[in-house]
Amino acid sequence: MTDDTTPVRQGWWRSNLLSLGVLAMLLPATVLGIGWWKWDHAFPGSGQPVWAVEPGKSGTVQLQGATWGPVRFKEVADTSGLDMPPNAKLILVGVPVDPTGEKGPGCWSPKLVQKSTGRVWLTARTELGLLWNDDEPEDCVPTSEGEKAERYELVLPYVVPDDVEGPFWVDVEPLSAKSKYVRFSIDP
């Protein structure tokens, strides 16, 4: 034992310098490692749509082996012949899809999102009393074996309540696009 405590303390820091250095590296590494792991599983790994890809001046988006857009949209005034609910309007959206590769991309059901509230609608073709029509696909068209993907247009009828005002987003999320999705802004 020594009476002077200061040299002892310096000695402790010095003798544990290696462990302290390792600790100083391991602590941030633990935080970063766990953080990255959680993020990877919560977002890109789980396929949750995180990053919107919006069109530039051309109105088109390149994503997942296809050129998407430019978007067309209108509120349909004449809904005769359709099974329309009371107090609702029909918003029709067209999204051209031009596959750049051999196979066209698949996608989740395209969504209409009200910007101000985040409320989401899906296409209501069946509910409007319309049957599936190959010329008016509601979903991305898969490319059959032995065929080459061709350009087509998604035809998306959305039925929304009368009092729901735009602007809206039209979100199309291709399958396995690493959390990226196509997002168009419309205000019919």
Binding site: D83, M84, P85, P86, N87, A88, S109, K111, T117, G118, R119, V120, W121, L122, A124, T126, E127, V159, V160, P161, V164
Partner: protein
């Protein structure tokens, strides 16, 4: 010459006369005991306040009655009519005898229809739970449109003679109702007249 005094503890207590505990020491003992008891009582109080382990998974229940609307996170619905019959038909190809409870309703999604179906539709009768029949064309698993109600019927087959007393209908937009909204509709079955046969309403927009 003077002999220097021997070094030693200056205030060494005399072994012969141990000093009696000073009064403030007894007070301190009392204080420690009092604090311990307070802490034990506080711990008991915390345990009383604590929710059960499965509390985070409990559903948020909106209770209503027939004809009254109810809304939860992503489901807005009104049970418009409850009927009971000895036979049920979907108005098309399916017809079945038995003891049936038929429930007509209007239902819509509130915030989003991605993955929103009327997936949970149960009848709690006594201590039993029945799910809506999968037979026929019914509104079981009906698509819910955001903000625009759709109308339909579901049917429950129950043991003969069991349609009496109070029953509860349970509706949700997912099979998993953990920590999500559930609509419960209380039905007095004694007020529901037994008919010979009823037909399910065709699914369509609520008008």
């Amino acid at each position: 010459m003077t002999v220097p005094p021997l070094p030693g503890p200056p205030a060494a207590p005399s072994a012969a006369a141990p000093p009696p505990a000073p009064p403030h020491s007894r007070l301190r003992t009392l204080g420690v005991w009092a604090l311990s008891i307070v802490l034990v009582i506080a711990a008991w109080g915390l345990v009383q306040l604590q929710q059960p382990d499965d509390a985070p998974y409990e559903s948020f229940v909106s209770r209503t009655t027939v004809g009254e609307p109810a809304t939860t996170r992503n489901l807005a619905m009104t049970v418009t009519r409850v009927r009971a019959a000895h036979a049920v038909s979907d108005g098309q190809r399916w017809r079945a005898d038995g003891t049936w409870l038929v429930v007509d309703f209007d239902a819509a999604a509130v915030v989003g229809q991605f993955g929103a179906l009327l997936a949970t539709s149960n009848l709690h009768l006594g201590d039993r739970t029945y799910s809506a029949t999968e037979r026929g064309e019914s509104a079981r698993n009906m698509v819910l449109v955001t903000g625009i109600p759709r109308h339909g019927s579901i049917a429950f087959e129950v043991p003969p003679g069991s349609l009496e007393g109070a029953a509860t209908l349970e509706f949700a937009v997912d099979y998993d109702t953990d920590a999500d909204g559930v609509i419960e509709v209380v039905v007095d079955l004694d007020q529901v007249a037994m008919q010979n046969e009823v037909t399910l309403d065709p699914e369509g927009w609520a008008r």
